[in-house]
Symmetry: none
Subunit: 210 residues, 2 copies
DNA sequence: GAAACAATACCACTTTTGGGCGGGGGAGGA
DNA sequence: TCCTCCCCCGCCCAAAAGTGGTATTGTTTC
């Protein structure tokens, strides 16, 4: 049984091309296509679509907003972005909004079909350039986890501290005396090269110890 | 001209299979393969490798460490992880360590070759399941910056607190009395719905207020 | 078997923190 | 104009945080 799909794309010629390309396949059936996504919810209801190909630059409501709207009502409907934009903002906004894939418009027809199949199998297809951006994003953000030679117990105490527990509460949770907690924290502070709890919490989160 | 590649894989049979599979292609030439990556740097020097297929679970030094080492010396050599592990930690650690791709071992031979070609063209190939994890990571991580209606002054005080300053130091930096600092922090705690400094620091960092 | 370390605990002590209550001056909107 | 909000300052007080020292037990490591 072919997957029911709908298309949002404001360029009429491209829209028709996509329709032709994708309807041809046994795996997909294009139920409808629209020049904008303002009435996306109704469109999904009428067509019982399982898969959506979504442009970003459209009149009225842009694709990122569209995804957000669709996903809040139909979280299980797959949405694949299909756009010329390859800037960080649009890519990451789309992903955060709930897109299940991000394809650039220079994707070959064959690859496009393969990617749509992939998304129906639970994958998250993206164009190579997009994938590269995503990888870069990971490498810039997080400071490496240095561990700081914390013992398991110390990590446990530190985690509880980060959660906002007082010494007394930590002692209680760990079933040890409050003085032991103090001792642990003292050691932790030395190992992290900090002087107080707030600093330790900041460092712990920033270095992904917790 | 085929791309020179080397393989790190501790399973002898799989290593040989990979060698056969990849050497067959006109686009790749397997220069060597090794059961561990302790001498990766020398291996690259000797073979002038441009591309590396890297297992994770290996004796001596694991693949994530390996990538880190390789990338710190040869940032332009492409490294693709090839492993059975599909847990968040290994995936994200690998990416952060500098991996250019992450393929699971259930990848079909054809797909494997295609992915290696993709990485040589500047892409970042990953198995569908991995891609999905990556997408999920974006959606869970960045909690929206809610602002919490903090006034400029309160933000300033909060920032100083996050940096590990004591009340007294904050008072000094802001040239106000310590009691004013207390008052500000009390208002901040209320606005963030927390009860103490450590919790406020955690929330501030997690919500990207600072 | 000694040395090192993790984890536990107690004591004494100082400083910091956080909560509560009060009030004043200035800027901006209903 | 009055009201609200931001920013500022002060005092009191109890609780929590942080520092120092000493010591015991078990495990691991050399």
């Amino acid at each position: 049984m072919p997957h029911k799909l709908i298309i949002f794309e404001d360029n009429a010629r491209l829209r028709q091309s996509l329709e032709l390309l994708l309807n041809d396949e046994k795996t997909f059936r294009v139920m409808a296509s629209y020049p904008d996504c303002r009435n996306a919810i109704e469109a999904i209801e009428e067509t019982a679509a399982e898969l959506i190909v979504m442009d970003i630059d459209m009149p009225g409501m842009n694709g990122v907003e569209g995804v957000k709207m669709i996903k809040s009502t139909y979280p299980d409907v797959k949405v694949v972005m299909h756009t010329v934009f390859d800037d960080d903002t649009r890519i990451f906004d789309s992903i955060c909004a709930g897109a299940d894939g991000y394809l650039l418009k220079n994707t070959s027809p064959l690859q496009l079909i393969r990617s749509l199949e992939e998304v129906m199998e639970g994958g998250a297809p993206m164009s190579p350039f997009v994938a590269q951006k995503v990888f870069q994003h990971f490498r810039t953000q997080p400071i490496l986890n240095d561990d700081f030679n914390l013992t398991p117990r110390e990590k446990e105490v530190l985690e509880l501290l980060v959660k906002g527990n007082s010494y007394k509460m930590i002692a209680n949770t760990c079933s040890v005396s409050i003085d032991t907690v103090k001792r642990h924290l003292q050691n932790i502070y030395h190992k992290l090269h900090v002087n107080c709890g707030t600093e330790a919490v900041a460092k712990a989160i920033r270095h992904r110890i917790v």
